[in-house]
């Protein structure tokens, strides 16, 4: 039996963590350095702007750039992708007394919702599980919301630095002092091209990692500082399309069941979402836990299959697909959170550490809230006579998170996701029990294994995927095109995998990757094949990191350029 975990590529944490290398006078000094212009990082920047506005003496001590936000995408929002139905709680709190929700680029409140259990031919409406109720929530494009948050952060005095990847966490004398940014202008073999621009050491008094799912530095920092939680982190992969539709949709829809298989041996946990985005657009996506076993499972193709279902076809009839994207979602929840959310000089926020409530399908408001709380802790540490480096100086952040709804919510649903690894029916029963008892039952805590530890099986799943017709169903390459991905081709390969692996593992990667990055090359006749990689197709969803490889940040500005996802 093949397990992806047995074929991990070599990676040493020292590649992502190390001391500064630029001469001290060459380093770029900022006050607070935030890695990632997503909801968590931008909420942190916005809150810091608010606090510093009222404390000019603190601001004055932070130099020319009191707050900097690094973003690896072309622009803020370029790499943001979510459903998304947003619980407005985090946003309300962040902008309390400053902005009304109506001023935010949200796409309207949820007007109604339906949950269906699908079989190939039918759809059974089922009562909305309590955790999934969306009354009072808002539909949004996270990509658009992110761009707006970035403009707010900039107005508040933060400097956003897009097209800049953070490739190394700078640690000196046991404390985090900033990050090193990635080189630009390297060729395929790593050689500097004529327009080579080396990265820089950015040093800061406080560094906030808000990298989102599969954060390159977050994982390394957790390892370096020994902060791994009780359970390993696990992920789901979401693939999403935006459609311009002929008739508006006025409710949010979730489906469970078909095309996923309920049998425990397949471990296919997931479902779909169909959300209205204003009158003209609809978002449709499929999310599947990456602890699935079948090497032939392809979330992209399962989404294509879903669209052939009668009820979905009706919604999309007469419409046109306008955008596509993919991203992983951390699903380990409460049990996979790091032991603490800070290290000397460093704070962790949002999806990077897995602040996602899986049964509620929500994480954005936790990201925002954690960013806001991180800002408050960072601000305290910037007061005269204090430093973030003193052991325990950032402890107040952990306390604040524990006292917040982030902790309460995640703790309550802690066992729900693991239950579903036992199959849909058992999982569903357990989930119901947990909801009814607010997490008190069952009285034990589940263990999960890493996604890469799951042994692979091969069924004939792929046979059922519909052939792309270019109208309703699409292949991966034309989909990548709609992600706006224009990654420079002649840059170093940023994907780490073993290139010679058992056939079924290669098959797993080929099918799993929604962006057609992997291809099976020559076989040696003994069950081992060469894996060919097209790294510039990569939309940086992060699935490969969950299943036996490792995504590292490519040159800043690479990857998708999402507009409405």
């Amino acid at each position: 039996m093949t397990r992806p975990a047995d074929y991990q590529p070599p990676f040493s944490v020292d590649e992502a963590v190390g001391p500064p290398t630029d001469a001290p006078n060459e380093r770029i000094d900022v006050g607070v350095l935030i890695v990632g212009a997503g909801p968590a990082g931008l909420a942190c920047a916005i809150r810091l702007g608010q606090l510093l506005e009222e404390a000019p003496e603190v601001r004055g001590r932070l130099g020319e750039v009191p707050v900097a936000v690094l973003e690896k995408g072309k622009q803020p929002g370029s790499h943001l992708l979510s459903g998304a139905v947003v619980n407005p709680r985090g946003l309300r709190r962040l902008f309390r007394g400053r902005k009304q929700l109506e001023e935010l680029p949200l796409l309207g409140p949820v007007e109604g919702e339906s949950v269906y259990f699908l079989t190939a031919g039918s759809a059974f409406r089922i009562p909305t599980p309590p955790t999934m109720k969306n009354e009072g929530n808002y539909v949004a494009s996270l990509s658009q919301l992110g761009r707006w948050l970035a403009s707010q952060a900039e107005e508040g005095g933060s400097m956003i630095l897009p097209e800049t990847a953070a490739t190394k966490l700078l640690v000196e004398h046991g404390r985090v002092v900033g990050v090193r940014t990635g080189d630009k202008g390297r060729g395929r073999a790593g050689e500097p091209l004529p327009n080579f621009e080396p990265g820089s050491d950015l040093v800061a008094r406080v560094t906030v990692l808000a990298e989102g799912t599969q954060g390159h530095l977050t994982g390394a920092a957790i390892e370096r500082f020994g902060l791994a939680g009780d359970n390993p982190q696990v992920w789901a992969l979401g693939v999403k399309e935006i459609w311009r539709v002929a008739k508006p949709l006025h409710r949010v829809i979730h489906t469970m069941g078909w095309p996923l298989r309920g049998g425990a041996r397949y471990r296919e946990f997931g479902g779909s979402f169909i959300y209205p985005m204003g009158e003209e657009h609809v978002a449709i996506g499929m999310v599947v836990g990456l602890d699935y076993r079948d090497a032939e499972l392809s979330v992209h193709d399962v989404l294509q299959e879903l669209k052939t279902h009668k009820i979905v076809r009706e919604i999309l009839a007469g419409g046109e697909r306008v955008e596509w994207g993919a991203k992983t979602i951390p699903e380990g929840g409460f049990l996979a959170l790091p032991k603490q959310l800070h290290a000397p000089g460093l704070l962790f926020c949002g999806d990077g550490v897995g602040m996602v409530n899986v049964p509620a399908l929500k994480g954005i408001h936790y990201a925002i809230e954690s960013g806001r709380l991180a800002a408050e802790t960072a601000f305290e540490a910037l007061q005269r006579g204090r430093t973030a480096a003193t052991p325990g100086a950032l402890e107040s952040y952990d306390r604040a998170v524990r006292d917040s709804y982030i902790w309460r919510d995640l703790e309550q649903v802690r066992n729900m996701r693991p239950a579903f690894s036992r199959g849909f029916w058992v999982g569903g029963a357990l989930a119901g029990m947990m909801t009814a008892t607010r997490g008190k039952l069952p009285p034990f805590t589940f263990r999960t294994e890493r996604d890469a530890d799951v042994e692979l099986i091969v069924t004939d799943r792929a046979r059922h995927y519909p052939a792309p017709d270019g109208k309703l169903t699409f292949d991966k390459l034309s989909s990548v095109f709609l992600s706006g991905n224009k990654t420079r081709d002649d840059q170093p390969d940023h994907i780490r995998i073993q290139r010679k692996v058992p056939n079924e593992l290669a098959e797993l990667w080929v099918r799993m990757c929604p962006a057609h990055v992997y291809e099976v090359g020559g076989a040696d006749g003994e069950g081992t094949v060469e894996v060919e990689v097209n790294p510039s197709n990569c939309v940086q969803c992060g699935a490969i990191t969950a299943k036996g490889g490792r995504l590292t940040p490519p040159e800043g500005g690479s990857g998708p350029e999402y507009q409405r996802t």
């Binding site: 750039v65 072309k74 400097m159 630095l161 630009k184 202008g185 004529p194 820089s200 507009q563």
Partner: protein, 251 residues
């Protein structure tokens, strides 16, 4: 040496025409026209070779085009002038060249640079109209540029081979994307760009009108690509291809 570089913000991501306004949908994010980065790069090189000077970016577009200009500032340009006015939104070649020429008249640059084309409109003509309005010489498609002794000399490729053209300054030069590989802005450059002067002007400030002498009348689906033929090779395919090419007078 004072160099003006005319740059444009173009929509990012997949381009789409808004069927209602029949104009390019510019509601999404914008970015610096990639072809213009070559002009900015060349300006930086000319400035270096001249031992100093000033590089001014000149643009017309929506207010948010300021962000695209910032990227060119991060590469090393010194300041920017953006003409932004609702009345200029539908301007065509005639209108745009009039507005840019008005800014360039004010700036009195020794050298005005353009990129090869706009990635959104596929236009590759603006420089010539601007040069005409400024009454200065123009060299287009330049793949190698030297500026010395008050002259610009450009090597360029046409359908027939390479030309070398020389013109006294002030001159307008449009560069091809083969001329250089634009630099990446350094992090310090990006951070410094924020404090560089970014001027915004209205048409009234310049005392010109934009206007258009062309219009979009309708949008339609393209005709199918004529008859497509697909054959299986029975050993004779090469001959059939040759026949097809001969019919189309492509041999």
């Amino acid at each position: 040496m004072k160099i003006a570089v005319c740059v444009k913000q173009v929509p990012e991501g997949t381009k789409r025409i808004d069927r209602a306004t029949m104009r390019l949908d510019r509601s999404g994010e914008g970015a610096l026209n990639a072809f213009d980065a070559h002009a900015v790069e060349e300006a930086l090189r000319v400035k270096d070779a001249a031992g100093g000077g000033e590089i001014v970016l000149v643009s017309m577009g929506p207010a948010k085009a300021a962000d695209a200009l910032r990227k060119a500032l991060a590469m090393g340009a010194d300041r920017s002038v953006l003409v932004t006015d609702d009345a200029a939104a539908g301007a065509d070649l005639v209108g745009t060249s009039r507005v840019l020429a008005a800014v360039l008249e004010r700036e009195q640059a020794d050298l005005v640079l353009f990129g090869q084309q706009a990635a959104d409109a596929d236009g590759a003509v603006l420089w010539s109209a601007v040069a005409e309005r400024l009454r200065t010489p123009v060299i287009s498609q330049v793949a190698e540029l030297t500026v010395a002794d008050g002259k610009a000399r450009g090597k360029r490729q046409t359908e027939f081979g390479y030309d070398v053209i020389e013109a006294p300054l002030p001159a307008v030069v449009a560069v091809s994307d083969a001329i250089n590989e634009p630099r990446y802005p350094s992090l310090k450059g990006i951070m410094g760009a924020k404090s560089k002067p970014q001027e915004t002007l209205t048409l009234a400030d310049l005392g010109v009108e934009a206007g258009a002498k062309t219009e979009v009348l309708a949008l339609s689906d393209p005709p199918p690509r004529g008859d497509t033929t697909k054959i299986e090779d029975d050993g004779n395919a090469a001959a059939q291809i040759v026949e097809f090419l001969a019919e189309k007078r492509l041999l």
